[in-house]
Amino acid sequence: MTTVQTGIQPISTSRRVKDRVVQALVYLAFAIAVVPLLSVLWLVVKNGLARFDLEFLTHSMRNIGARDAGGGAYHAIIGTLEQVLLASLIAVPIGLLTAVYLVEYGAGGRLARWISFFVDVMTGVPSVVSGLFVLAFWVLALGMPFSGFAGAMALSILMMPVVVRSAEEMLRLVPNDLREASYALGVPKWRTIVKVVLPTAFTGIVTGVMLAVARVAGETAPLLLTVFFTDSINNDPFSGPQMGLPLYVFDQAGRPTDTAIDRAWTGALTLILIVMLLNLVARLIAWWRSPAKRG
């Protein structure tokens, strides 16, 4: 039998082994990352279902004694929904307009570079610092009371840079040809932005906003410093202490009785369901409006 000389040598054993070892390590890394997620979700579902009932969703903690079972998180759920909605109302317009400025108007200018730099810095502001800022500014300096609105302001500071970054990224993806075609038809710049650029980027922007909302909905530290605690229902975010679902979990987890710990788990389950629902809606919108589907 004759062997054909091709010049291609088989891969040496040591190189092949190294390749396989790295592959195994990479697979292992993924497994290590997924284990805590599964563990968290499993424990939250297992322990949370015990109290996940109608009473929990429709009652507050008013008149629930330290050792009593029962009670719920209705006041906290209402608080979280209102605070997150208010935070979005503040953060989304500012964030979106800033992104429009960075992409459409400022391009490369000094002010745009400064804003872009500080948006990055703002991304790194710890959530507890934004809470302290609202405490120092709104409560201590202006003498306003603790309220859901104060919490919403702290959350909006955390949302803004996320909205700016995601919207900016989406606006940059809009092909320049579209803008130029619009200009060529004599459409003014602002109408081009409103009618051509923003609709084209709409899906991505909504997804980014929803993910930002999901991120702040679980923040506890800013609420701790700005909305204070209450065990009663307070539907008005502008006056009086409110509750938030993350704060509720923190509060109940710190109490020494088993019934409180049960409520903490159920609160955690509710919170995760809300956050996951927001995530899911964000992805669904992305899918529903995606060009591939319309195409």
């Binding site: 993924f30 307009l97 745009a112 995760i272």
Partner: protein
């Protein structure tokens, strides 16, 4: 490019002003954060009977307020560096798995699974940490203390579940998805031509990654790690639930030591008097400055390394 070529519409100026205004509001908020934290910290710092930078004790509510940042800052830095050391290798592995190892069809779904880790609120990690990880860590901690006590970190006479190590592991889990997500994006952008050239020359998958993907992705990994570090430093609630909240400086991460600036704010706010609130705001200012330095450092490193990455 001159834009005066086409007629200005009436709506153009207000829209432009509004968008510039929004950007300036952002800058103003950042400035206001610094200013108001300083203003509200000063009265407390003046009432302090001890050196704020070197004092370890935190008793701002006493009649003779005495508080300092030393122990808290030490705990913050130690805890987040440990978290970074634990999280970064795993995160790079996860990023490589999704960008280069997982089957193409599964990659998007698996990436979403890792992103879900970031969607879990920090208070839930705290609850999980207290209920599950703290008891769970007692065994491994005893093991480390028995056999690896010659490493100073694992030394000490007392071993507890509520330790710096446990808090660092929770922090590592929380920052892992951020580091993984950014690294993954960078790895996916690695030039396909180089990857295919490496494979065509007979490189194995690992050699291809080492020669073309990792050098290209290095600035991305560094920036991702720095952002993760900043996130770990500012993390509050999970750490507040787990750390034993002591005021000492010790490298023994298995013992009942450890605290952080953010955790101290969460634990101390409820019973804080006026001076106490001011003291917490002062500590928050320190945290703000530390994270500012870390984030700016990350940006500088990226800016410098980017040229290398492009040249390569």
């Amino acid at each position: 490019m001159r834009r005066s070529a086409f007629r200005r519409s009436r709506g153009d100026v207000p829209f432009r002003v509004a968008s510039i205004g929004a950007g300036i509001v952002l800058l103003a908020i950042m400035a206001a954060i610094g200013v108001f934290l300083v203003v509200k910290a000063i009265p407390a710092l003046q009432a302090n009977t001890s050196n704020f930078l070197t004092e370890k004790i935190w008793t701002p509510n006493a009649t003779e307020p005495k508080f300092g940042i030393a122990a808290l800052a030490f705990g913050t830095v130690l805890g987040s560096f440990l978290a970074l050391i634990i999280a970064t290798p795993v995160a790079i592995g996860v990023a490589l798995f999704i960008s280069h190892y997982a089957p193409r069809r599964l990659a998007a779904v698996l990436g979403y699974v890792v992103d879900l880790l970031a969607a879990v609120p920090s208070v839930v990690y705290g609850l999980w940490g207290v209920a599950f990880l703290v008891p769970f860590m007692r065994g491994p901690s005893e093991f480390l203390n028995t056999y690896f006590a010659w490493i100073p970190l694992f030394g000490g006479d007392q071993v507890v579940g509520k330790s710096m190590l446990t808090a660092s592991i929770v922090l590592a889990i929380m920052i892992l998805p951020i580091i993984a997500a950014i690294s993954r994006e960078v790895f996916l952008q690695a030039p396909k031509m180089q990857e295919e050239a490496a494979l065509a020359l007979g490189a194995t998958r690992w050699e291809m990654i080492r020669m073309s993907v990792l050098p290209f992705g290095r600035p991305g990994i560094i920036s991702a790690a720095m952002l993760g570090l900043g996130r770990a430093m500012g993390e509050t609630i999970a750490v507040a639930l787990i750390l034993p909240a002591t005021f000492g400086i010790s490298f023994q991460i298995l013992g009942p030591n450890g605290n952080s600036i953010a955790a101290n704010i969460a634990n101390g706010f409820g019973e804080a008097t006026t001076i106490g609130r001011g003291a917490l705001i002062a500590s928050g200012l320190v945290l703000f400055l530390i994270t500012l330095v870390v984030n700016m450092g990350a940006r500088l490193i990226i800016a410098r390394r980017k040229e290398f990455a492009r040249a390569a």
